[in-house]
Amino acid sequence: MAADFKTAQPVEYYRKFLEKDVRPDGRELGEIRPTMINIGSISTAEGSALVKLGNTTVLCGVKAEVTNPKSEEPDKGIIVPNVDLPALCSPRFRPGPPSEQAQVVSQFMVEVIQNSGCIDPKDLCIKAGKHVWVLYCDLVCLDYDGNVTDACVLALMAALKNVSLPKVTLNEESGNLETHMQEKWGLNILCQPVATTFAIFDDCIVFADPTDEEENLATGKVTIVTTEEDKICFVHKPGGSPLSDDKLQNCLQRSFIRAREARNLVETTLVNVDR
């Protein structure tokens, strides 16, 4: 009976739950789904992390290559994030070129890395003007159950912490690069951005971490990315229902709390991983 009501009138179904301040999966309005992180599972990648946010699963693999730097920034390395939402993660994505959703999330990741300044591109320089590291961060969504942005940001941060690059020096006489596979160094992560997404329902109710069904019913979305010391580095509200100031403040407070929890989780997971 409940299943029929849900299919016929999904909005009414949700409203009945929200009247009692709870959601159909039993969560409260501000509660985030249980998060599970697994670091270093892919040995062919320089750094990798798998994040499960409820059912949403994202795998991030970081591969490093040596390349020539851009001519306008000869001493800075390059970080290239790319998000792939393949057809296997959800029936809504068809095989073919990257969907608009994938491109938006990819651009979002670019902005997060730039705005937060989590890695100093100068660290990735081998020889200014000639050789720099380029880090290709590829995020593959394996199961899409809403809120893929939060999972992607978390996976990217965990994977970057797991990256270990071999030391590369330039042999002055021969002009060749020498790789010392025995000496490995990890990246110097300056700060860890964490994203929290909220969905706006019916123009007035705000809840955190929407699932796929909730995203379809939502009338608006807000994503807030925060770094340590409670600094905000990205507020993304792409249209949708208007939001009053105090609700926005609540969202900000909630995202600070969530960011601390997420960072603790990454730290504890890293402690158990062998580099």
Binding site: S106, Q107, F108, N115, V235, P238, G240, P242, L248
Partner: protein, 228 residues
């Protein structure tokens, strides 16, 4: 239809004066003859041109049975569209979907095309304002008007409203807010750089005040057009 021009020249001075003032705005509506509505909007040197086609026929795949389907295409001056343009299209599309009373036009499509004419800082805000004017010109029913304001924070923590391209390069943070005209609540935001929660609140309040001037400008432009 002849184009109608409106300026707010006398009230707002040029850049060299206080950083809390908006750049002079210029707008022309009905500049294109074939579209249902069009507008060109410029803030200082920054200029954009928008055209609205609709409500019109929709492709079966995109048809929504209870609302109009809104589609936005963003065209840059040079180069092919990339991921950056997609995020701007997404913001514009969602903003228009909320502003338009879409349930009045089920099974139709409203297509919006924006052409970048000149980018001189805070370009996304100019686009949002331009689209709102074009929709007014096309007489599409809207729930409220949308106005966007940009503000930046420089390294000393000072607020600069509506920065130009040169000023943008020394800023630590840049924020674009879009407000609606009935309750002045935030519809869309887009930020670059990092800032604290208090700075965010202060910018919100100042930009809200500035948006009221933009709403007044919209009204004056349309009043001029209709009085002729």
């Amino acid at each position: 239809m002849p184009a109608h021009r409106s300026t707010m020249g006398s009230k707002f001075r040029t850049r060299s004066s206080s950083p809390m003032e908006l750049r002079p705005m210029l707008s022309e509506v009905s500049v294109l003859s074939r579209s249902d509505g069009s507008a060109s909007f410029s803030q200082g040197d920054c200029c954009a041109l928008a055209a609205v086609y609709g409500p019109g026929e929709v492709k079966v795949a995109k048809e929504l049975s209870d609302k109009a389907s809104v589609e936005v295409v963003f065209k840059m001056k040079v180069g092919l569209p990339g991921c950056k343009e997609k995020i701007q299209e997404r913001i514009l599309r969602n903003t228009c979907e909320t502003a338009i009373a879409a349930t009045l036009y089920p099974r139709t499509a409203i297509d919006i095309v924006i052409q970048e004419m000149h980018n001189s800082g805070s370009f996304l805000a100019t686009c949002i304002n331009c689209v709102c004017m074009a929709m007014l010109d096309a007489c599409v029913d809207m729930k409220y008007l949308v106005a966007a304001v940009t503000c930046g924070l420089n390294s000393e923590g000072e607020l600069i409203l509506d920065p130009t391209l040169e000023q943008e390069s020394d800023l630590t943070a840049l924020m674009i807010f879009a407000y609606e005209s009935s309750n002045f609540e935030v519809i869309a935001t887009y930020t670059t750089g990092s800032f604290t929660s208090d700075q965010f609140q202060i910018c919100l309040i100042h930009c809200r005040e500035a948006s009221k001037h933009i709403f007044q400008f919209f009204r004056d432009t349309m009043a001029r057009k209709l009085s002729k």
